[in-house]
Each structure stands twice: as C-alpha cells, then as structure tokens.
Amino acid sequence: MLARRMARHGLTLIAIALLGGFLCATLVRLAPGFDSDEAQLDSHLSSASIQALRQSRIEQRNIFRFYLDSVGRAVHGDLGTSVSLQQPVSKLLGERVPLTLRLVAMGLVMSWVAVTLLSLSAAWLRTFAYDALATLMTGLLLCIPASVLALLSVLWNVPGALAIGLIIFPRDYRYVRNLLAKAYSLPHIVTARAKGLSELRILFWHVIPVAGPQLLALAGVSVSLAVGAAIPVEALCGLAGIGQLAWQAALGRDLPLLMNITVLVTLVTLLANSGADVIAHMWRGQQA
C-alpha cells in the first residue's frame, strides 16, 4: 500500500517536473526576441555560420516537437548539447551539480543553526530587547537584495555558502520564531514551565512534538529558497555551479540547457518539499 502510494507520488513529481520544463521552454520560446542572438551580430562569423545559427533557431520554433524530441532523447540519457557552451548538457550538469549541492547544503546548515539558536534563545529569554534586536537584524537582512549580499561576500572574502545562509536566515527565522512563540504559549507548556520542568525537557517533550511537523515543512521550503539564492551567489562569486550555469544559459538564450536546469531545479524543489511532507506525515502518524 505504502509502496504504491510512494510510486504514485514519484510519478506525479516526475510529471510536474516535466511540465515545469515544458512551461519554461514555452515561456522562453514565446518571449519576444527568442530568434535574436548576439552571435548573429558577430562580424567574425561567416555568412554560412550565421545561416547555420539561424537554422538551429528555426528547428526550435515548434516547441511541442522540440520538447517531445528532447524528452525522447533524455529517456536514452542524451540531454542535448548546450548552444552557448557547445558541450553536452549532461556533462555540464554532472560537473556543476556537486558544487551547488555542497553550497546549498552548507548554506542551509548555517542558516538553520543560526535560526535555531536565535529563536530558541528568544523563546527562553523572553526579553523585549533581545527579541527586538533579533527582529531588527533579520528585518535588515530581509531588506538587502540577495545579489548585494553575494557582492558583499566577495568584498569581505567570505564563503559563498555563508551568503546563501544569510539570504535564507531572515526568512526562516521569522517563521520559526512565531512557531516557537505559539508553541510556548500553549497552556500545557505554560503549566510545565510553572511546575519547574527544565527548558530542555520542555523543548524535547512538549515543544518539538507540537512545532516539529511545521518546522519540517519549512525546512522543505527553505531548500527552494537556497536553490534560488545560489543563482546570484554563484554568478557574482564566480562559483561554477548550477546557479551560475542557469545565469549563463539565460544570458546565452540556451534553450536546451535552460529546459534541463528547469527540470532539475523543479525536481529538487519538489523532492525536498515532498520529503519534508512525508516525514511530517509519518511523525504525525506516530504521535496519533
């Protein structure tokens, strides 16, 4: 029963990811200026080369045919060739995925450690000044564009993962702080505090079981935030990951590369969210 449910869930995820790829390809194809290409203005290219470039664009005009061909090839492991970088897409993705995964994972860990420490201390201390200071700090970080944080990380020579962490941190903090504040105000937790139970015991026995499923859902969402944050960080810090590749593909109007990155990014986002949902569901089931 569970296996069938998981299989159905997996199929839905793949279908949504493919639909995401199709949506991206359609958006790209329908956008005005798709036919124009900087390379066509290059005076170094011969008329035959420019003609070949135009021909390749014409082949991509029928978006349904292009997409079906791409899916058919992808089933056999061929993800096509990047137009701008002239390399197989599978090779490009294979080379860059590990760096982005490492960067995103480190950013998430940094952000969640900071979020947990800050929001727990805010919940335990319950002083206005501390709470106001934390809110002010996260509010300020929320008002700085992600790209500026990436630029500042280059300027101060700090790792890109820290910039990703700083981009996600204020968004997560506000939710976690509110969740914990809500959990700590529950009558049975107030009673436990009044009876003198230790803070750690209250946290692990009473607060986490209440807020846990929602925290897990938030963790799933923050993966999507981290992947989005990887674009400016990698592009501006010169890190050769998927974010930088997406930026280069966008600038180079590289349809095969963009489509594959979209499918990959959609899959990662959906997997993270679904994983968090499944764990939260199992958690709730155990509690019931």
Binding site: G20, L27, C143, P145, V148, G228
Partner: protein
C-alpha cells in the same frame, strides 16, 4: 497609528516626493557625462561623486529612485489584478477550476522566483530602447509575480463562496459575473490591498537583483538595480562609501514599506 508607522510613512513620502523634483534638484541629467571628472569623489559640484564614465551619481540616484518607485507599484498593481482574476475567480468557481488554477500556481511556485525571472528577462530582445527595457523589466515582474497572491485570494474567495451572504444573494437570483463583481470582489478588497503592499518591496528587491545580474534596466537609464551594480567594482567597503548611498536608500524604503504594511488583524477587519 504608531510612531514608527508614521515615521515610515514620512520616509516613504519624502523618498517619493524628492525624486519627483529631480529635474530641479539634480545638477544635470542622468546621462550627462563630465568626462574631465570621471570617477570623481564627492565635491560641491557632484554631491555623490561621478561614476566611471563621469555621470553625476546624485542625479542618477534621484532619477533611478523615480523609476524604481514609480514602476514597482505599477508592477504590483498588475500582479494583484492578475491574482484577483486567476485566484479570485478560481476560488469563486471552485471545483475543477480551482484545482486547475492552483496546479498552475504551484507549478510556478515550484520554480525559484529569481530563476524564473532571469530566464524570461534574458529572452527579451537585445536591441530595445532603455525605456522599453524599463517597461519590460517591470512588466515581467508583474506578469510573473501574481502566483503567491493568487493562492491567498483563491483560499479567501473559496471561503466567501460558501458564506451565508453569498448563498442568500444566490437564492435572491443574483448569479455569475454579477455575483462575483458585487458580492465577492468587494470582500476581497482588504486581501488585495495587503497583497499589493507586500508586492511592492518584493518587486523593488527583484529589480535590484536583476540589475546587479545585468538583466535589469538598460543603460543609460538609471534604476536602483543598475546603480547597485557599481558595487561590483569595489575593492573594499571603506574605499568609496558614497557608492553605498543607493543601497542605504533601498534598505530604508523597503524597511519603510514593511512597517507600513497592514497587519494581519487589520486585513481581517
């Protein structure tokens, strides 16, 4: 209204009004080049110095603020209207309509916002006038930024659909578009208003991100994004602190917007 909210309103009013007088306040146009003073530090002639090609930075900040602050609300209005149309109607119609609309919305939301934005922005024609590039940038923001608002509106319209007053109106013979227009839409107004305010700072930040990545407003027109791109050339923070003025202004404005935003209880009221 609290003191901080009043202060935020005052800041917003000031930041909106001063750039409107840019024609009188700025020493020159945003594109005028002082070639003999390229990359100059602040002076009496150029309060914030000049950029690498000798354009007065103060003038560019004034004109850039005008562009960012006039077009972000326009994009927010467009996205809110689209959200009302898609989310509001889907919630009101319910059933398959709501499920289909929310599936499309979820699909958009499953892609990171910035990724979607750079993909579509990069596909715009290369040889457009700066004015068209401004319109394009903010049009894309408006056209792509409606999804999360649509979700909220769909849920609100869905709850309104089953409310007593809508049932009574239906029983009284009002149906279809008229029911939506007269009964449902006016009750969505507080949510629409909140979504509009939330979208403005989000779009200001998105434009800044696009500008820094080189996909924002085309030169020589200034915007906060293109002005912040100057930070890329900095060697250290203390080197040319006046280059941080657009960032300080942006942070101030976004903070002011966050403070002016209606709170949850006000939206509910």
């Amino acid at each position: 209204m609290s003191f901080w909210r009043k202060a935020a309103c005052a800041v917003l009013l000031l930041v909106v009004l001063v750039p409107l007088a840019a024609n009188w306040l700025a020493p020159a146009g945003y594109a005028k080049q002082y070639r003999e003073a390229a990359g100059a530090p602040p002076s009496h002639e150029h309060w914030l110095g000049t950029d690498d090609i000798g354009r007065d930075r103060f003038a560019r900040v004034l004109y850039g603020t005008r562009i960012s602050l006039l077009l972000a609300p326009a994009a927010a209005l467009l996205s809110t209207l689209m959200a009302a149309l898609v989310g509001g109607l889907a919630g009101y119609l319910g059933g398959t309509w709501a499920r289909s609309a929310m599936a499309i919305t979820d699909l958009f939301l499953s892609l990171p916002w910035l990724f979607l934005l750079i993909t579509v922005r990069a596909m715009m024609p290369l040889n457009v006038s700066p004015l068209v590039s401004v319109m394009t940038t903010f049009l894309i923001l408006g056209m792509l930024g409606w999804t999360s608002s649509a979700r909220v509106l769909c849920a609100t319209a869905g709850s309104l659909r089953n409310s007593d007053f809508v049932r009574q109106a239906r029983a009284a013979g009002i149906s279809g578009a008229r029911l939506f227009w007269i009964q449902v839409l006016p009750n969505l107004k507080p949510v629409l208003y909140a979504q509009f305010w939330i979208s403005i700072p989000a779009f200001i930040l998105s434009e800044a991100n696009l500008g820094i990545l080189g996909l924002g407003v085309a030169e020589p027109l200034p915007s906060w994004g293109s002005l912040l791109k100057e930070l890329e050339g900095l060697v250290s923070v203390g080197d040319e602190p006046w280059k941080f003025v657009p960032l300080i202004l942006l942070v101030m404005v976004v903070t002011a917007f966050q403070m002016v935003l209606p709170r949850g209880d006000e939206v509910a009221a």
